[in-house]
């Protein structure tokens, strides 16, 4: 066993508000500067919708991620070899049309317009050309299903639905939407790392964070194409690729990443996962139908004495093992099995997991033109979800609807269980039945409820100490570093080496 540790995240989609506070926390800290205007290391998408960049999930067009190649794997688009041929013409790169043309406004007109016969107003101007423009796209253009004819109906994940099933989703009374926050997946099998001709992208040993070395990046942009999540961006000002860094400067000082810190829906959980790197290739190249299960099997039980012993042998510090034992991600993903990776079929083995959203019960408009309930009481209608299982399966389980259905049932069981405890208007027989069906015990239901509803930051965010002193010690004496850190010339981001 080659045991490694990975910082992972769970997003509880049922709790996500779609507020985008996370996106701005990230932007303010990292990408609020020239060349990075269009970078949204963290973004939130309304689903169904086309997302950002537009239709990013469509790998027929973008050629991101991996594909199975016999028993092995190959990059779908550019690789080191393929990339050399396409070095100067990378045809699958998203263009500005796929992103958007960043803009600002002529705010100064409000102050310096001379007196005229009508009121001045600030017109939008392009941040690229400086010319006046009418924005036609943005990083969140289809928020809350804006413009669904053009956006929601073009969601790539509708592919398995019949035309009738699709259209149903866009009738007002059967309407549905939910939010999907996205950052870099810090994959176990990152395509960006594999695609980089300069070897500038790497996965940190201590926490699995994937980084683009800003000194070594040579602007090949193969990573942009290779990342199926389109989470590597090219900074046009510095000529380097940049991506989510999981706020390592914050993690290293024991603080949650900015996106998580600011998550006002309290949907994010961060923790350590131990996995067996020896099995990566086998898992990443297995049959599509086995992908989810195999990926989940990769993660090792941090409470298992054998795993602990092996982890120690592999140099994993005790503090990391302890953190893994308290990891909220472990609980959601492995213990309770209610969180899944996004688009496992991209085969990058992403380290972020999503708890499925529950959505309002179905209803229908009858011939009398009135709205009617389906079912005789609230919660009776669990088998008729508003969001087709096929749709969620396309996003989270490479098409397996059974696993999605089970998760939804588990989440509902927890609610029924807590209803029985707190109100008592559901019979215990009914609760026991549904718990049995979904494979929950009262203890587990109680645990799921507590972590979902009551957990404070220190339970949602559990990471090992970074031991920066040990890293620094490798370069200079720590007591010297203490007195001299920060001295030197600030290095401004700019083009060139």
């Amino acid at each position: 066993m080659d045991i490694r540790s990975q910082i992972s995240m769970v997003f509880h989609l049922d709790k996500c508000i779609g507020c985008h506070t996370c996106s701005i926390a990230c932007k303010n800290t990292w990408t609020d500067r020239k060349g990075a205007e269009y970078m949204w290391w963290n973004n939130v998408e309304t689903k169904p919708g086309t997302g950002y960049p537009g239709k990013w999930e469509d790998q027929e067009a973008y050629k991101g991620g991996w594909e199975k190649n016999g028993d092995s794997l190959k990059l779908k688009g550019v690789g080191k070899v393929k990339g050399l041929k396409k070095m100067f013409h990378n045809t699958h790169m998203p263009t500005m049309d796929n992103y958007y043309e960043p803009w600002t406004y002529q705010y100064e007109k409000l102050f310096d317009s001379p007196e005229g016969d009508d009121q001045p107003t600030a017109e939008p101007v392009s941040l690229v050309t400086g010319e006046k423009m009418t924005p036609k796209a943005g990083p969140n253009w289809d928020d809350d299903l804006g413009g669904s004819p053009e956006y929601a109906r073009n969601d790539v994940n509708l592919k398995d639905l019949s035309p009738a099933e699709r259209e149903t989703m866009f009738q007002l009374e059967r309407m549905v939407m939910f939010y999907l926050p996205r950052i870099c997946n810090h994959c176990l099998n990152p395509a960006c790392v594999a695609a980089c001709p300069s070897g500038a992208i790497y996965k940190r040993g201590e926490d699995g964070i994937v980084l683009v070395n800003q000194e070594r990046c040579r602007a090949w942009r193969m990573c942009v194409t290779a990342c199926p999540y389109k989470k590597v961006y090219f900074n046009w000002h510095t000529g380097k690729s940049e991506k989510c860094i999981l706020c390592y400067p914050r993690l290293e000082t024991g603080q949650a990443p900015a996106c998580m810190h600011s998550c006002v829906g309290r949907i994010r959980y961060l923790g350590v996962m131990l996995y067996d790197a020896d099995r990566l290739k086998e898992v990443a190249s297995c049959d599509e139908k086995d992908l989810v299960k195999k990926q989940l099997d990769l993660y090792l039980d941090p409470n298992d004495p054998e795993v602990i012993a092996a982890a120690k042998t592999c140099g994993i510090p005790d503090s990391t093992i302890e953190a893994a034992q308290k990891s909220p991600v472990w609980k959601y993903v492995k213990e309770w099995g209610v969180a899944l990776p996004l688009h496992p079929e991209f085969r990058t083995l992403p380290s972020l997991f999503y708890v499925m959203p529950l959505l309002p019960a179905m209803a229908q408009i009858n011939d009398d033109n009135n709205y009617h309930n389906v079912g005789s009481a609230l919660w009776d209608d669990m088998d008729n979800p508003r969001l087709p299982l096929k749709y969620l399966a396309s996003l989270f389980s490479a098409g397996d609807t059974t696993i999605i259905g089970n998760i939804l049932k588990k989440l509902m069981s927890v609610r029924q269980y807590r209803r029985a405890v707190t109100v008592g208007d559901i019979s215990w027989d009914d609760v026991d039945k549904i718990m049995l069906e979904s494979g929950l015990t009262p203890d587990v239901a109680e645990d799921i409820y507590r972590l979902t509803s009551l957990a404070r930051l220190e339970e949602r965010f559990v990471i090992p100490p970074a031991h920066r002193e040990e890293a620094i010690e490798m370069m200079e004496e720590t007591h010297i570093h203490k007195g001299s850190t920060g001295f030197g010339f600030m290095k401004k981001p700019k083009r060139g080496l």
Partner: protein
């Protein structure tokens, strides 16, 4: 897998410093956003290099009970974008003035050598005045010095006070809680000056009138943590994900704790996504749904099952067992007023016997006079104001009889009006008779009347429904289908889930409600209809229950001491607080465009209900129901001078003089002659708000009549044929305002249209305090960096305005002036029991008695040379105590304590006062004098409340009564507020605040007529307007509402109801102009259209559209979505004209406006009544609200776009 090798080489990873360097910062300071969102989120502001670089949420709120989720983090996408403003190109850095004005001013100043004379010359020259008024909003700003700006402002103040009176100087600033000292700065200046504060909560249409109607309370709701205690949450008109962003986690966490949730909303919105059920009720028709829910509850849970918890609750805490007389109208019986105790011989001599009421004791069948009524509250003998089951006069215990169904003399058929069809039906009601001096009176209980109103027959004869399917009979589940579009089955299932949950949990069902309901014309009725379902199931005053209204409701927790500082009460002056909706309706001449309300309001036909709203306003002002400023068509200084000259001495004689002059017609109320020059408002201060755009209902009328600049309104003036009391002048004046001053950190629409813009310090640049009712903490704003460029905190700006005004007064108005201030009859005063009937002294129906049959008049001395000294010193009237909501307490020792710190005192006329010159001094004074933040004062407040009520509240006093927080304490951590009887929720031991738990658990009365929660509103005006019982009234029809008389559909437009709910990318207009929010949205505020309507109009997503009616036009781009139903369009509140708004082809290619270009105020006149129990004026508590939701528009594609 060679590519995923570990990178452990430390040298190769040295570059990682690149991002570490970005993260490193120099300091972190706690502040918040003083924005009108009620979030009250504590933030850490990060400073690097002397520059604010970003903000992140503070996570250190004190914990509540362990069983509740924690308050962390709080803050949203808008708040976290704020730092953009600090250094942005939209930041106001220096004082600005329009060139057209400064040129004239400098010229006149040069000529006269005096600022005041210069100002006078400009104002007295119509051409000069017109010159700069016409230029308003049209560019031409110039930077000037602070000194010059202040000089002009000071001159305008003194000129106006001298020529017209100080009540022509007004100020508007909304929602103090968000930055309470910044609000207090301006209001303190205005009140010391004799100027006028405009209200905001009612103007914004956020005041839920049903709260005072039902509970005698402005608004009192649970903090968001208490949502978690609920087991059934119904959300309507409130988009929690959108507008309660920092709180909504409690909602989702509650769901995972087994709570059921239902969302009512016409569109599938952010919160609908969360619900167990989304009910797409037709826009504005929620009332019909809830009427039917109550029908089911009354029938099943009350009549059939008699659920003990519900019946006991209804007896104990509501007016249901109170007796109502049935009046004979011809052959018919109609419900009238509550039976008064003094009609019986037994209670004939009771003090305030007109204001004490009757129940029947279940056991003896005899009349009893329950304690706790307003008569008991205001009587000499204290201690009877509680809601124990005790006769307030005899002290006998009783158990009230809820219904006469089994003990009656007769069943009478009573008229019930159904307003949906405007017809009367008859339903049987059990009655008894009592013989009084006036003869034999039939009476019944409120409970019996409700059963009849809701159509629960109980076997009685009359026009009762056969069953739930009877769609022809009002308030059945089948009846409501036509209005709500929701099936009867849905109503029945909902009602059963509701009352069964309440039954199982003793009242843990709650309604969360907001602007989506409160902004309709008949919002008070929709609220009452839902409130019925809550009260009848015992869900009020219970943790996890409640009618939780969240819109603009920000709770200023330490309102006791704050109220003193902001109103100048420490100097013992009466305050001029103006009910803004009637003020704007009259002054911005929107009344001239309004037809008779009776034509679009569903009212019974009678003399009272058939009047024009403007006429009813005039009546309400002279009767002391509502305030109106200016008061008279004469300077109040001159009135007092003349009175004195005529021999009047003392305030009584001055009052008499004024009454005589009013009677003779020598003196006139300004409200009756709003278009006379002498009655114009003249100087307008705007701070902390966007008074001319997002707050300006009838924005285009503001531009026309207040500012005298260009506007896009084309409406007909139709009021002439209706108004009788208000003087009609043929030509309405344009440009009433001499000077508009805006304090702002950003160039918003109000700033753009103002004459002078003063650069205000932003929320990261000043000290202040913040509280809200979304949580129960108080926390600070503080300066992460000093105010940038030349900006100053509001406290300093108004202090400076006070200084220059005092200096100019030394030359131009050195003598103290006697002012007379008209005060309406006040809530929480004995005035609440002053007007049993509507009588008009002016019409000779009664004697004019100030403070009783008419408004009060108080004389007060204004020495403008001392204005500044008083502004910066805390006056010693504080020694007489502070308080709020009818509870007051002594705090002279703490006043002395402030005084003992010699470093922080001022001497005025040889006497020493605590200094509040600096903002932090004022904040510390506030904290030490409030019962919410000073444990000793909390204790005293409870002692005082015990004396008033006769109830033992001793275990509610804070355990650690030593604590008094200071500003510096709050910088280190937000503090939880203390229990105080000035509020109604209990918060001990980490318990979540839930409104009225004090009332329910300790039998403290509500501040209403009977002391109970009111189903029945027996005010004559309510009977005249048909709102004495909860009822359903249809929305005003667009053709009668009158917003589309002139606009014609040339075949390419569609008539749609425009909804303006609060949006995702702004808090009102704030943040909406930031690049961050504009980038994450559509780059502007779009108009959301349904796919069907868009298709019919040939409009595609992102096409330009015009949205217009007679009031004005908004030009924007379309956002086409299947989540919007056909027939409505949504323009989220609130766009600005300052960015991305093109010119309108339909209005002569002039710059289009914002969403408020489409609105004009329509007032609901029964909300004007006063001097009667809970129907008594208090600023932001009572009065008509500025409704806007019933607005209809044409939407059409815009083929030509021109900026």
């Amino acid at each position: 897998m060679s590519w995923i090798k570990d990178m452990i080489s430390p040298k190769a990873r040295k570059w990682e410093e690149f991002y570490r360097n970005r993260w490193q910062h120099d300091k972190v300071v706690r502040s918040t956003h003083g924005v009108n969102c009620t979030g009250g989120c504590s933030w850490n502001i990060h400073v690097k290099d002397g520059i604010v670089v970003w903000e992140s949420q503070a996570l250190d709120y004190p914990l509540l009970e362990n069983s509740l989720p924690h308050y962390e983090p709080r803050g949203c996408q808008r708040g976290i974008s704020f730092s953009w403003y600090l250094y942005s190109p939209v930041r106001v850095k220096y004082p600005m003035i329009r060139g057209a004005l400064i040129d004239i001013f400098r010229e006149e100043k040069e000529k006269t050598g005096d600022a005041l004379l210069a100002w006078q010359n400009i104002q007295q020259d119509p051409q000069k005045r017109k010159r700069y008024q016409k230029a308003r909003g049209k560019g031409g700003f110039r930077r000037i010095s602070w000194d010059e700006a202040l000089e002009i402002i000071g001159a305008a103040n003194i000129y106006t006070a001298k020529k017209y009176g100080p009540d022509r100087v007004v100020g508007f600033s909304p929602i103090p809680a968000m930055s309470m000292m910044s609000f207090a700065a301006g209001s303190r200046f205005l009140q010391l000056f004799g100027g006028v504060n405009l209200s905001f909560y009612d103007w914004y249409c956020d005041l839920p009138n049903s709260f005072p109607e039902t509970w005698g309370e402005q608004t009192d709701v649970c903090e968001s943590a208490d949502w978690y205690n609920s087991k059934f949450i119904a959300v309507m008109g409130a988009n929690l994900g959108m507008t309660r962003t920092p709180d909504v986690h409690f909602f989702s966490e509650s769901r995972h704790n087994g709570t059921k949730t239902v969302v009512f909303s016409p569109d599938f919105n952010m919160v609908a996504k969360y619900a167990d059920q989304w009910v797409p009720v037709h826009a504005g028709q929620d009332g019909s749904f809830w009427m039917a829910v109550t029908h089911v509850i009354l029938k099943e849970a009350h009549f059939e099952q008699k659920v003990p918890y519900f019946i006991e609750y209804t007896k104990k805490y509501t007016d249901a067992p109170f007796l109502v007389e049935l009046n004979r109208e011809g052959e018919n019986y109609v419900p009238g007023k509550l039976l008064r105790a003094n009609i019986l011989e037994k209670y004939e001599t009771a003090e305030n016997g007109d204001w004490k009421f009757l129940n029947i004791d279940e056991k003896s069948g005899e009349f009893v006079c329950p304690s706790g009524s307003s008569g008991h509250r205001w009587q000499e003998k204290k201690g009877k104001w509680n809601i124990r089951f005790r006769d307030g006069e005899t002290g006998d215990e009783y158990n009230p009889l809820l219904s006469l169904i089994e003990q009656n003399d007769e069943i009478l058929q009573v008229d019930i009006t159904r307003f949906d069809k405007n017809e009367k039906i008859k339903r049987g009601v059990p009655v008894r008779y009592v013989t009084t001096a006036a003869g034999k009176v039939a009476f019944t209980t409120v409970y019996d009347l409700m059963m009849a109103q809701y159509g629960v027959s109980r076997g009685l004869e009359g026009d009762y429904p056969a069953d739930y399917e009877d769609s022809g009979s009002v308030y059945t589940p089948a009846w409501q289908e036509i209005y709500s579009g929701i099936s009867a089955g849905t109503v029945i299932r909902f009602a059963r889930e509701w009352y069964r949950t309440a039954q199982a949990t003793n009242g843990k069902c709650m309604v969360i409600i907001g602007a989506g309901i409160n902004h309709w014309y008949h919002s008070n009725l929709i609220y009452r209809s839902a409130t019925m379902s809550l009260i009848l199931t015992g869900c009020i005053g219970v943790n996890g229950g409640g009618m939780n209204h969240y819109v603009g409701q920000e709770k200023l927790a330490p309102v006791d001491s704050w109220g003193t500082i902001m109103s100048g009460k420490d100097w013992k002056i009466p305050a001029r607080f103006q009910q803004a909706p009637i003020w704007h309706y009259i002054h911005s001449d929107q009344w001239r465009y309004d037809g008779n309300q009776a034509d679009y309001n569903a009212v019974p036909k009678n003399e009272f209900s058939s009047q024009h709203s403007a006429d009813l306003i005039a009546k309400s002002v002279r009767n002391g129901w509502m305030p109106f400023f200016p008061q008279y068509n004469k300077n109040p200084f001159d009135i007092v001078k003349e009175a004195k000259k005529a021999g009047a001495s003392g305030s009584k004689e001055i009052q008499q003089y004024i009454i005589e002059k009013l009677k003779s017609g020598d003196l006139k109320y300004s409200v009756n002659h709003p278009d006379e020059e002498v009655n114009f408002p003249r100087v307008w201060y705007i701070w902390r708000g966007n008074a001319l755009m997002s707050s300006a209902k009838g924005h285009e009328y503001f531009l026309k009549h207040y500012l005298g600049t260009h506007h896009n309104e084309i409406a007909d003036e139709v009021a002439k044929e209706f108004v009788k009391e208000i003087e009609w002048k043929e030509d309405a004046p344009e440009g009433k305002m001499d000077l508009v001053v805006d304090l702002n950190f950003r160039m918003d629409t109000s700033a753009l249209y103002s004459d002078i813009v003063l650069p205000a310090a932003s929320w990261y640049e000043k000290a202040d305090l913040n509280s809200t009712d979304m949580h129960s903490f108080i926390h600070p704003l503080s300066a992460a960096i000093p105010p940038v460029w030349e900006s100053k905190p509001d406290w300093v700006i108004f202090r400076e305005i006070a200084r220059v005004t005092s200096e100019l007064a030394k030359v131009h108005l050195p003598e103290p002036q006697l002012d007379v201030v008209n005060l309406p009859i006040a809530h929480d005063s004995k005035g609440e029991i002053s007007q049993r009937e509507i009588k008009d002294w002016f019409a000779g129906e009664c004697e004019p008695e100030p403070g009783k049959t008419m408004h009060n008049m108080v004389t007060v001395e204004r020495d403008y040379t001392k204005l500044y000294d008083r502004f910066i010193s805390l006056g010693d009237n504080v020694k007489n105590g502070v308080g709020a909501h009818g509870t007051s307490f002594q705090c002279d020792d703490f006043y002395e304590g402030l005084l003992s710190d010699k470093k922080h005192t001022h001497t005025v006329d040889g006497k020493s006062y605590p200094s509040i010159k600096e903002d932090v001094e004022a904040i510390d004074a506030l904290l030490q004098l409030s019962s919410l933040t000073n444990g000793k004062l909390s204790e005293r407040a409870f002692v005082s409340a015990e004396q008033n009520t006769g109830v033992d509240l001793s275990n509610l006093r804070p355990k650690n009564n030593e604590s008094s927080v200071r500003y510096k304490d709050l910088l280190s951590q937000p503090r939880r507020l203390l229990n105080s009887p000035i509020w109604s929720g209990l918060m001990d031991n980490g318990r979540a605040y839930s409104a009225f738990t004090l009332n329910v658990e300790y039998l403290v009365p509500w501040r209403t007529l009977t002391g109970r929660q009111h189903f029945y509103l027996d005010h004559e005006g309510y009977i005249h307007f048909g709102e004495n019982l909860p009822t359903y009234k249809p929305s005003p029809r667009p053709e009668l509402y009158g917003d589309l008389r002139k606009s014609v559909n040339e075949g390419r437009a569609k008539l749609l109801n425009v909804l303006t709910p609060h949006g995702k990318w702004h808090i009102h207009s704030t943040y909406g102009d930031t690049l961050r929010m504009l980038t994450l949205s559509r780059g502007m505020e779009p108009c959301w259209l349904s796919e069907k309507d868009a298709k019919e109009l040939g409009i595609k997503d992102n096409d330009w559209v015009e949205v217009l009616n007679d009031n004005g036009v908004y030009c924007t781009r379309a956002c086409v979505s299947s989540r919007i139903p056909s027939g409505i369009c949504i323009v989220y509140h609130s766009p600005e004209r300052t960015y991305s708004v093109p010119k309108s082809p339909s209005r002569g290619n002039r710059r289009a406006g914002g969403h408020n270009s489409l609105t004009r105020v329509h007032l609901k006149p029964n909300l004007l009544v006063g001097g009667y129990g809970q129907f008594t004026f208090h600023m932001n508590y009572w009065g008509p609200v500025g409704v806007n939701r019933d607005t209809f528009v044409f939407v059409q594609k815009m083929n030509q776009v021109n900026f």
